[in-house]
């Protein structure tokens, strides 16, 4: 009986995940309770067993092999020894976090009406109480019992026939589950919505495309707002002291042809701050007004409390797909600083308010215009990280990427692609099974930015570009990977490589760390597997 009790110990310990626990993830660093590890979006861990001195002793402990051949973009959750993981498109697993063995699985079969521009992917789950929440590629939100894997409710967020889908991990705030929609390449009208966690009933909805009678409505020409895109396909962050959620919004539609949508096209390519209880817009900051390059501001909002020019300030840090790194005041949305971190030719800089100064003749034309960075951006949705110890902001970046962007005239047809352009000849496109870069190929790097100066502190270069997220820890380690299949541990202060493993498949997800029974683990999805490492015993 004693042995049985020990075996059950981790499960018996797993209490419900209250919102209070989500607010204070720093009190239980052995768990990974939200997509970014905390509501601040920092992807920073207080676990310290793995250090720069012993990281060379990391070894593979177990591998979870996905059955899907789709991109593996998920970040797992870890709750008291249990790991909750999704494999594409919407297959949920509960695993023993020590061994990778499966407790249960729930395979949701999405409707054939699902339209996804860029892969039938899922990036993870949210948890509250005993309930997991998953968005689906056919535009639904499903509540799942965390003990049994049984679905509890299943509601429509957006019509999949019109191109609405949900690919990111939801955000739980108080008693609500908050999601945004993907579909920016299908002429949707984007939104972020909150649902009652118990029932799935919609509580509020914020349209990320201002309607004609809304503030900002005049930034769209004619009826263009109806198919204005501005999706919100990545998880937001939350500041309990201000009761604001922060979310990034995507490109206006059609992507590469702005002729019929003259104006700034609010609230596309914005950081929006919404009241968590009502969804009411507190402020917005638009990174790329009247975007013609597909520069979604779909990045993880990173909340940092720090001294800024002599006084304590609540900051929002943002490495944008458009090639600029920004620091905003997250109470007001005021622009504090911004600087490029990659080669840019579409803008000559930022003005005093943070608005980009557009370079002349740098718009897509029918013949095509060579634009830096390319449509995939100087970064994209891949999680950055901020370390309060080093006070550096870490960006998984694409350097020197370009693409010829041509525009075409396209009529909106419900449910069909609506992009208005023909981007071509990128120097950072798919390189195939084998990688054969040439002199002007884009390359990937992990950049350490000093937010106070906007200057690069160090750069870790990779031959190929990277779609990997970044994780930092209190012991000044940084974990990240790239398309080449290498998973690295770097010194977060210097960028020096301390350890690497060749996982044989590209990393398109963010690393996490957790511990069970005092042993620290690091997990990352690569190729079609989730690989979990710990120190050699």
């Amino acid at each position: 009986m004693k042995k049985l009790a020990l075996l059950l110990f981790p499960v018996l310990l797993s209490a419900q995940v209250s919102f209070d626990r989500l607010l204070h993830t720093d009190r239980e660093p052995h768990n990974w309770l939200t997509y970014s590890g905390s509501l601040s979006g920092q992807r920073y861990s207080l676990l310290d067993r793995i250090t720069p001195q012993n990281v060379k002793n990391l070894e593979l402990k177990w591998v979870f092999q996905a059955r899907s051949l789709e991109k593996f973009e998920a970040t797992p959750l870890v709750v008291d020894g249990l790991m909750y993981l999704t494999e594409a498109p919407n297959h949920v697993f509960a695993l023993d976090a020590k061994t990778g063995r499966i407790f249960w699985d729930y395979d949701y079969h999405a409707s054939k009406d699902a339209r996804v521009c860029c892969g039938s992917v899922n990036r993870g789950l949210a948890i509250l109480g005993d309930t997991l929440f998953m968005g689906t590629i056919d535009g639904r939100l499903i509540a799942i019992d965390s003990k049994s894997g049984r679905p509890m409710w299943n509601i429509e967020v957006g019509d999949p026939k019109l191109g609405y889908s949900v690919t990111h991990a939801p955000l739980v705030v108080k008693d609500k589950v908050i999601v945004g929609v993907a579909g920016g390449e299908y002429g949707i009208r984007g939104f972020i919505a909150a649902y009652d966690a118990r029932t799935g009933k919609e509580v509020w909805k914020f349209y990320t495309v201002a309607g004609p009678d809304d503030p900002g409505g005049k930034t769209w020409d004619g009826d263009s707002w109806k198919n204005g895109g501005s999706p919100a396909w990545l998880t937001g962050s939350y500041d309990p002291s201000l009761n604001l959620i922060y979310w990034g919004t995507g490109n206006p539609g059609p992507d590469w042809n702005g002729d019929d949508r003259a104006g700034d096209n609010l609230y596309s390519d914005c950081a929006v701050a919404l009241d968590a209880d009502t969804g009411k817009l507190k402020w917005y900051f638009q990174f790329t007004p009247h975007d013609e390059f597909d520069y979604d501001a779909v990045q993880i909002p990173v909340l940092v409390d720090a001294n800024w020019q002599g006084r304590a300030r609540k900051l929002l840090m943002w490495a944008n797909r458009n090639g600029f790194f920004y620091v905003l005041d997250r109470e007001t949305g005021k622009f504090l600083a911004g600087s490029p971190y990659a080669k840019i030719n579409w803008a000559t800089g930022l003005d005093e308010a943070g608005r980009p100064m557009r370079a002349p003749n740098m718009s897509p034309t029918p013949a095509g215009t060579l634009i830096y960075p390319n449509l995939f951006g100087a970064t994209n949705w891949y999680s950055p990280s901020y370390s309060p110890r080093t006070q550096l902001f870490y960006i998984p970046s694409w350097q020197d990427s370009n693409m010829t962007m041509a525009k075409i005239t396209q009529k909106y047809v419900p449910g069909q692609r609506y992009t208005g352009g023909l981007p071509r000849a990128a120097n950072a496109g798919r390189r195939g099974t084998r990688n054969t870069p040439v002199e002007d190929s884009a390359y990937g790097s992990i950049l350490a930015m000093d937010p106070r100066t906007g200057q690069k502190k160090w750069e870790f270069k990779m031959n190929d570009v990277t779609d990997s997220g970044v994780l930092t820890t209190v012991s000044d380690l940084l974990f990240a990977g790239g398309r080449e299949g290498y998973f690295y541990a770097l010194d977060a202060r210097t960028g020096v490589e301390l350890w690497r493993a060749s996982l044989g498949g590209q990393m398109e997800a963010g690393p996490i760390t957790y511990s069970v029974d005092g042993k620290q683990y690091v997990s990352i999805a690569a190729g079609q597997g989730l690989f979990t490492f710990a120190l050699r015993e």
């Binding site: 991109k71 699902a114 692609r417 084998r434 990688n435 054969t436 040439v438």
Partner: protein, 246 residues
């Protein structure tokens, strides 16, 4: 790009009117739905080449139409909601991308071209066709499915003008001073895989090297002054005849 897209346009003009209308309509659909991933030439996805006329997952028009409708689960190929007529037009365009006309066959004599290839041209010294010849250069057994006449002609007279990234050579020197030259097969941050002049497959750790140079020029000599214009035309026709399925 224009050099290689021109034959597709020319081919269009040779299609029967109804087929051309369908293919024209299909071209617009291709631009809207397929271009971003598959590219202008239909060869941007590794392993998929519309110009080859062969698709692994769809051999008949009906299968191709169904594939367009349903996508390919587990891959980046999404489903669409194109109507049956739209899919028919798109299939017509995809079929028209397959070079079968005069520009695809060239205007020379393939048999004579083969003689040039195997004799005066000395092409087997570096290239391989259906199990014969050197492995140092690219295997040409399927080159007729992959390249068109203007591209091949240009490669023969000005081989360094366009060297495909996958055909670039590297020159490396180890820390011990050993020099290795070969065709780069693969490269990442830490390693290079290549085939050298002795046809050895070598995997080299960059930390063991003191010099790595990606060679800009083609290892192939220009045949501008070595072959007559007719010989080059014949050689191009022979190369165009090389298709793996034959």
């Amino acid at each position: 790009m224009m050099l290689r897209s021109a034959p597709v346009v020319a081919l269009f003009l040779t299609l029967p009117l109804a087929a051309q209308t369908a293919a024209d309509a299909g071209q617009q659909l291709y631009k809207a739905h397929c271009f971003v991933c598959h590219g202008q030439e239909g060869e941007s996805i590794p392993g998929v080449n519309f110009r080859s006329g062969q698709l692994r997952r769809a051999s008949t028009d009906e299968e191709l139409s169904r594939l367009i409708l349903n996508g390919i689960p587990g891959t980046g190929m999404p489903p669409t909601n194109l109507s049956a007529d739209e899919r028919r037009n798109l299939v017509a365009f995809l079929r028209a991308m397959h070079d079968t006309g005069a520009t695809a066959k060239g205007s020379g004599d393939a048999t004579s071209g083969m003689a040039v290839f195997e004799g005066k041209g000395g092409c087997f010294n570096c290239h391989r066709v259906r199990g014969k010849g050197s492995r140092l250069g690219p295997d040409l057994s399927d080159i007729g499915s992959l390249r068109n006449a203007p591209y091949l002609a240009e490669s023969l007279v000005d081989p360094s003008k366009t060297v495909a990234p996958a055909n670039r050579f590297v020159h490396v020197v180890t820390k011990q001073g050993t020099v290795i030259d070969g065709r780069r097969l693969n490269e990442d941050t830490h390693t290079i895989q290549l085939i050298d002049q002795q046809e050895r497959l070598l995997s080299i750790d960059k930390s063991d090297l003191r010099e790595v140079t990606l060679v800009k020029t083609s290892a192939m000599p220009s045949y501008r002054d070595k072959l007559s214009a007719q010989e080059i035309t014949d050689l191009v026709s022979y190369l165009l005849s090389l298709k793996e399925s034959q």
